[in-house]
Symmetry: C2
Subunit: 553 residues, 2 copies
């Protein structure tokens, strides 16, 4: 095959540059293995000013040894980098901008660092490419954001670079492939390098995709982001969960779904084995899930509500439980979980009946955002899953149930549910005249406001007052009326009236708990299948190992 | 780690079943290697009645030895299978239904077999799950269509199952992962099994994901589907190509795009180095592509129009050329291309400015389908890329250019262009009152009509008459008027009038060639950078090796 020949140099500039850089560390590296204590020097040799560099920042796996090392390079040598970080979660991610090593940032989510991003943007230290959803950020790695260097993390590697990511594979394969196959440089930090390839539990990414591995100074950082303590679930959460089950899950026969990480959806998970069982819904709803392994899903799994769970990433403490439930979770031959954020996002977008999420602010038309003044949080996967994918062509009962006419040219619709209490904990209304994102967008010079989920993509709004069936709205005006009718005593809610609410109920456009056969008096914590983390451990047969901070019993 | 322990048997039924089946072929297999001449017997032991079985049928890679072997099993032993085939392309895919081995089919595209699918459906021999887009079919493999068995193809494997797919990786990783990590059985046919792992050019899929490999009786079938002979490009194609470049690509600054496989888009590719150059557009439009390696893209690549191409799959004859242009194409360390249909579809949906495609029929509202009477073709990736993904949050100039108001809550829009001649070659109108898909859907009992691209997702319709800028339409009525105005002498077109057309031109809702500065007199074949396959070979420096049927010089 002529492909074995050397390509002409004018068509192989990326390859030549890669080889040039790799040659510079040849004397430092032992084959593919880099020395832990010389990483700063190595990065200065492998990364050039202005490079596009992907740094794995994920929910459950951080290339933190590499990002800490990168933050220590000499800004005279390495500067002006364009960083691509799916989830900006480490302090050093921002230190890189403070030191001038990086200049531009493309990202999808920022948790704890969202305040600092906002501040740096104002100070002119940082320039934002775009705030993406995960799925579109991965896509751009194969189009106009192909990286020069990719820094990722895994549990173990052998000396040829074969990588075992551990249960949180997350988006490592999607990040690595974009560089490995376009002459970028891939470096993986691992907790352990094994001499014998047979000591790898399994191979998640082949060694021929990885240029270098390095043993990190300490195991990569991991935080339990998807753990919700049942103790904090209130009767209001439970009332809303009951409404969700009767007025949405049962009504539309929701078989496959994604849950966010809030207490509202945790409440739903925890009353399936009690309230859901009493309604005879087992096997009829909630069979297939795309979500991280939420501990609060354990009782539903143990009572056979759940056929399958595909995970974006892992959750600290759930490793052993997941490994012992291979019928439900995706696991490898070695027994540990395999997650995959890119495939789970694809599934979460295209293959499920319903997305249900929450937000910090929603306006009267249903537009919502977690971006508020001083917090550039990003949206993660929410907009990707929280819209109706017009490219979908397969039908399910739930999807078809949202048809509004008999026209053969009308299509079904994915359920996109916003589940919010009308007021936040601090007494701030959730449902507001104008979401902060509009002003934030204007102030920071974004081309459009950073909206998380657009009102016209939302099919249902569920508050403690009731459910607005927005997919039935015939106009923007009607959609607004429906939202106002369930917006309680927020300013938006006060614009509604008893007459309007009565008319909307009569027409089936909104439903109150009593319309759904939900008794407020039943909405108490006795419905929770687990009332504490200790209960979850019991349900799991001792397999769930909650992180220290949750061990309060 | 407790995951090393054996999971309780009630939670590991899939794993036990897999082990049970694998034990049945232990005496036949040599480790992971199966004997070529005993595959029918092996499949009878590894596949059980009613199984969900994925058969790799792709554009450029067919697990045809495995599908031929499957078609020979005893229907008394293996029957009622639920087949999942991304692209139904082989006769034996349908033989499986004729013999009762398979019963139900989920698929995304059917080329040559679309007539037979239609016939079998009518005869009650075959039941269709759904017609999907590729992306949603992959998604469902991780939700409610997890396979029991996956049959795929590659070029080479070692005796541990490490797989080199060759340049057409296509969707093999997405198919394999769904089974490998949920206790399904994965069998790969390869053209060659190497004894020494070092003889594999690279590893596309790790051996720990593959249960068995078998050397096929002959190399897998491959067909040049994306090759368009420039000789067949007409002046009308060229006129339309000129209008596309001026009225769409230049106007909206389209940087990243997907092209379909028609002669219309081939004409665009071939006049970029001539007409596009004269307009000074090089470097300003069409820099990043997601598409198979079209031979007609060679002149644009050679004249430095193209920064990057990410491919869904390969194209026969383009292997050496692609391998010699690694700056442009995604290639592995071994030098050969790496394609990836799942990632390219993700990119094609989310990360590009424009999708431009064609269709067999479009109605007056812009709804289109390639499903016509007697042909259940499926849609492949067209609907996935041919809609505006509402989950997109990053802005590009083209995306922003479709904004219609100053509201910060309005979002940009992806360009979805339908490029059709008003009449098909046989004199049948392309633009019709009602697309056949409506009746086909009704007759075959589908829940909704099999529409390929919905009118409300189309932003531009381009015919030889002009361009309708549908994204500017303020109502369905106006959209229809705009389409009629460029529908020529079809019945739909005759419903328009000179007055209406003039008004629409004045308002900028439609544009005729003269409005775009396109001179009909220039629209001739002299604009084509290559006028024949031989010219393409010349452009490629002899690297492009056209298949025999195109060697007509």
């Amino acid at each position: 095959m002529s492909s074995q020949n050397q390509p002409p140099s004018r068509w192989a500039t990326r390859r030549a540059e890669k080889q040039r850089r790799i040659a510079r560390v040849a004397s430092i590296a032992d084959g593919a293995v880099l020395p832990t204590d010389r990483m700063v020097e190595v990065l200065q040799n492998l990364i050039a000013p202005g490079d596009r560099v992907v740094v794995e920042g994920n929910n459950q796996k951080q290339a933190d040894f590499l990002s800490r090392s990168l933050a220590k390079v000499d800004p005279e040598i390495v500067h002006g980098l364009h960083l691509i970080i799916p989830s900006v979660s480490r302090a050093e991610h921002l230190d890189l901008f403070e030191r001038g090593i990086a200049r531009k940032l493309d990202f999808a989510f920022a948790g704890a660092q969202s305040l600092r991003i906002s501040q740096f943007l104002q100070d002119g230290i940082l320039e934002i490419g775009s705030i993406h959803t995960y799925a579109e950020l991965y896509g751009r790695l194969y189009v106009d954001l192909t990286p020069n260097v990719v820094l990722v993390a895994g549990y173990k590697a052998d000396r040829d670079g074969n990588l075992y990511t551990g249960a949180s594979t997350e988006d490592t394969p999607a990040l690595v492939e974009a560089a490995a196959f376009r002459d970028g440089i891939v470096i993986a930090q691992v907790n352990e390098i094994v001499d014998d390839p047979k000591d790898l539990p399994r191979v998640d990414i082949p060694g021929s995709w990885i240029d270098f591995v390095v043993q990190s100074d300490k195991p990569f950082f991991i935080e339990p982001l998807f753990t919700r303590d049942p103790r904090l679930i209130t009767p209001v959460h439970i009332l809303m969960a009951m409404m969700a089950i009767r007025g949405i899950y049962e009504r539309h026969q929701v078989q496959s779904l994604n849950h966010g990480i809030g207490f509202n959806t945790a409440a739903i998970e925890l009353i399936l084995p009690t309230y859901g069982d009493k309604l005879g819904l087992k096997g009829k709803i909630c069979r297939h899930w795309t979500l991280n392994p939420h501990p609060t899903l354990i009782p539903a799994i143990e009572t056979s509500w759940v056929d399958s769970v595909h995970c974006f990433g892992g959750e600290l403490g759930m490793e052993a439980y997941v490994a012992q439930r291979p019928d439900v979770f995706f696991t490898g031959r070695d027994g540990s979980m395999r997650s995959n954020r890119a495939m789970s996002q694809l599934a979460g977008q295209y293959a499920i009946d319903m997305f249900i999420g929450s937000t910090l602010q929603m306006d009267g038309a249903g537009n919502s955002s977690t971006v508020t003044h001083g917090r550039l949080a990003g949206f993660g996967g929410a907009p990707n899953m929280g819209h109706d994918p017009h490219g979908r062509r397969h039908a399910t009962p739930a999807w078809l149930d949202l048809l509004q006419t008999d026209s053969p040219l009308e299509r079904g619709r994915k359920l996109v549910v916003q589940m919010v209490e009308t007021f936040q904990a601090g007494g701030q209304p959730t449902i507001v005249e104008t979401i902060d994102a509009v002003e934030v967008g204007r102030e920071t010079g974004m081309p459009i406001a950073p909206v998380m989920i657009y009102g016209d993509d939302v099919t249902h709004v569920l508050t403690e007052e009731g459910i607005a069936y927005l997919y039935k709205a015939r106009s923007l005006e009607q959609r607004k009326e429906m939202i106002a009718a369930v917006a309680g005593v927020t300013p938006i809610g006060l614009s509604s009236s008893a007459e309007k609410r009565a008319a909307l109920r009569r027409d089936g456009l909104i439903a109150l708990p009593e319309d759904l056969g939900v008794h407020r008096s039943e909405a108490n914590r006795s419905l929770l299948a687990a009332k504490s983390i200790a209960d979850l451990v019991d349900w799991s047969d001792g397999l769930y190992e909650p992180p220290a901070r949750y061990r309060s019993w």
